[in-house]
């Protein structure tokens, strides 16, 4: 049971992050390395917000990161939209380093401490021998809420357009979907997910630094690849699978090998890329057309 809770909590964190990445990959085949830096900005908003009420801090984080994501698309990604995916990948790499070095410039390279939630809800609950952190509950709750909202959104007009664009961008445009609008929407939602991830992550770590988002983002990438590029259900599935793998390997690997966990996980990635290059749930965007 304890094990299951750890998997759920870890998987939910990856799922939040992976959904943000999968959304933008779906519509424009962009692997967004800068997503981790969106999360970092969200974390610093919480640091700067300091003593204002929790809801106001959370809201401003979501708004600012959402705005940042849309602005990044306008400035950096729109001009290279028609280039090959590798060029876009390199562009996002550059954006990522730019944001990171701006953070070093503004806040220094050392971490800043942050307290997202009041101490009363950071404790541990003991129910029948289980240790349930409030934070685990919040993580899972946030993920479920956002997932349900995303599913509801996908039923609306904008949501249908987004799905159509992820399916086949050219045909969607021919049918009257506005390219800029649909990509803007995808980035805005991706930003909201990044902000949500940063809130959970900041609460877990209590520290925000310029490389705040990097590790989580790398694992979320793996989740997206494993799950099926561009497929949203695949991203969620991949995230929980990864949560399972990382918690299990932490528990099962002998002590001497535990430090090589990351190497094992990346090895699994290579294997999956080989055996099923399109991921567990095949995303339509990943299909190569001639």
């Amino acid at each position: 049971m304890q094990y299951l809770i750890d998997v759920l909590s870890q998987g939910s964190l990856y799922a939040l992050c992976a959904l943000g990445i999968a959304l933008t990959f779906g519509v424009m085949r962009l692997i967004n390395f800068a997503h981790g830096e969106f999360m970092m900005v969200g974390g610093y908003v919480l640091v700067v917000a300091g003593d204002i009420p929790v809801w106001a801090a959370l809201l401003s984080s979501v708004i600012i990161v959402g705005f940042l994501a849309v602005a990044t698309e306008r400035i950096a990604f729109r001009p290279v939209r028609n280039a090959d995916p590798e060029t876009m990948l390199v562009t996002s790499f550059a954006v990522s380093f730019l944001l990171q070095s701006l953070a070093v410039l503004l806040f220094g390279s050392l971490g800043r401490s942050v307290r997202v939630f009041p101490p009363s809800i950071t404790g541990v609950m003991h129910i029948g021998g289980l240790n349930i952190r409030w934070l685990d509950i919040i993580t899972v709750a946030v993920t479920v809420t956002l997932l349900v909202s995303l599913m509801a959104f996908m039923k609306t007009r904008h949501g249908v357009e987004l799905r159509a664009a992820a399916e086949n961008f050219t045909v969607a445009r021919l049918l009257g979907v506005k390219a800029n609008q649909v990509i803007g929407t995808a980035f805005a939602i991706s930003g909201v997910f990044a902000a949500a991830t940063s809130i959970v992550l900041a609460a877990q770590r209590g520290l925000v630094e310029p490389t705040f988002g990097t590790t989580t983002m790398l694992f979320a990438f793996i989740a997206v690849i494993v799950g099926g590029m561009g497929s949203l259900p695949g991203a969620v599935l991949g995230a929980y699978a990864l949560g399972l793998i990382s918690v299990t390997s932490q528990a099962l690997l002998p002590l001497g090998l535990r430090q090589f966990r990351d190497a094992f996980i990346f090895l699994v990635v290579v294997l999956i890329l080989l055996l099923r290059p399109e991921g567990i749930l095949r995303g339509h965007a990943a299909r190569v057309r001639i």
Partner: protein, 337 residues
């Protein structure tokens, strides 16, 4: 019927095939070294490292430029070369005290470099078997996974690599002349590969994979060859780095280094050998200039911001980099190569 989507590809009219590219680039580098030695001796160390960068980026170009696949994993080959050189050249006595777990192999300095290159090539030959079957994005991500695996191993195989603190007291013996000579060797290797039938076949596959395949190009095999050649050159540069700096750690060969080298290649022009060289020179110049600014204004981070800005501006304004597909050659006036 599915819709037909033509991927935007860099289109290249003619192939760079002039004999004088390597001599011209070697002359350019010699001139740079001459100017530094005579006028700016305080920058000698920086220039040696820049030449290490030239070897690396030229090596990376031979894969990325000919195959069209961005690699995020080549720094791993640099790490392999650096560790090989360190292990084979640290004096026996020092090794006993500092790194008792290291294998007891000793090689003279130039051979150690070649050994590093060969080991990197061997690793590339092995990991390339699965990786080079992947296409486009998946291949880029696969090389990224390779980078992470090598980083994780270097960090944790404490007995052989010295763990996360890294290796120190490697004999520092890479002079400016040595570095220059190795750069010329690297240029020659990569140019020879580029001119070979294998290089041509791979460039054909880069331009249009389906057409190339129908003409009998075994894409995975051609990519694999290019991967091994470039790994050898990058391994060489790793050994040079070890001999130039004397000490390094696993984090010397991770994301920051990868970003720096990718920036150089993108800014210079990833389809051109001259672009690779010019990218290293111009980014090094920019970096040193910004360091002066940073010291004067006390703003830490100016260097990184300047470099990412340079890369972004290049991608937005001149997607194929400074050189595009052009190469530096000796040509008589009026003779268009």
């Amino acid at each position: 019927m599915t819709a037909v989507i033509k991927r935007a590809r860099p289109s290249v009219a003619a192939d760079p095939a002039h004999w004088s590219t390597v001599p011209a680039l070697a002359l350019l580098l010699t001139l740079v070294c001459g100017v530094v030695t005579l006028a700016l001796p305080q920058y000698a160390a920086v220039t040696v490292l820049a030449l290490v960068g030239v070897v690396f980026v030229v090596g990376m170009q031979s894969f990325a430029g000919n195959s069209g696949i961005f690699s995020f994993g080549h720094v791993a080959f640099m790490a392999i070369g650096a560790y090989t050189t360190a292990i084979t050249t640290i004096p026996e006595a020092t090794k006993k005290i500092l790194f008792p777990g290291m294998p007891e192999i000793a090689l003279p300095a130039p051979l150690a470099l070649v050994a590093g290159g060969l080991l990197a090539a061997l690793v590339a030959a092995l990991v390339g078997i699965p990786l080079m079957r992947l296409n486009g994005l998946a291949a880029s991500l696969g090389t990224f996974a390779l980078l992470n695996i090598v980083y994780n191993l270097a960090n944790n195989l404490d007995a052989i690599t010295g763990g996360s603190t890294g290796v120190s007291s490697v004999a520092q013996g890479l002079s400016l002349t040595h570095a220059l000579a190795w750069s010329a060797v690297a240029l020659l290797i990569v140019w020879t590969y580029q001119q070979s039938g294998h290089g041509l076949a791979l460039r054909a596959a880069r331009e249009d994979d389906v057409a190339a395949q129908s003409l009998g190009v075994a894409i995975a095999r051609e990519r694999h060859i290019s991967f091994v050649v470039s790994a050898f050159v990058c391994g060489l540069s790793g050994g040079m780095y070890a001999q130039a700096s004397g000490s390094f750690s696993p984090s010397s060969f991770f994301l920051v280094a990868t970003f720096g080298f990718v920036t150089m290649l993108v800014v210079g022009g990833r389809l051109s050998l001259t672009g690779a060289v010019l990218g290293v020179l111009s980014i090094t110049l920019l970096r040193e200039g910004l360091k002066v600014v940073e010291q004067a204004t006390q703003y830490t981070g100016a260097v990184e911001i300047g470099m990412s800005a340079a890369m972004l501006l290049t991608l937005l304004l001149r997607p194929l980099g400074l050189m595009g597909t052009a190469e530096l050659v000796f040509a008589r006036r009026g003779e268009s190569r």
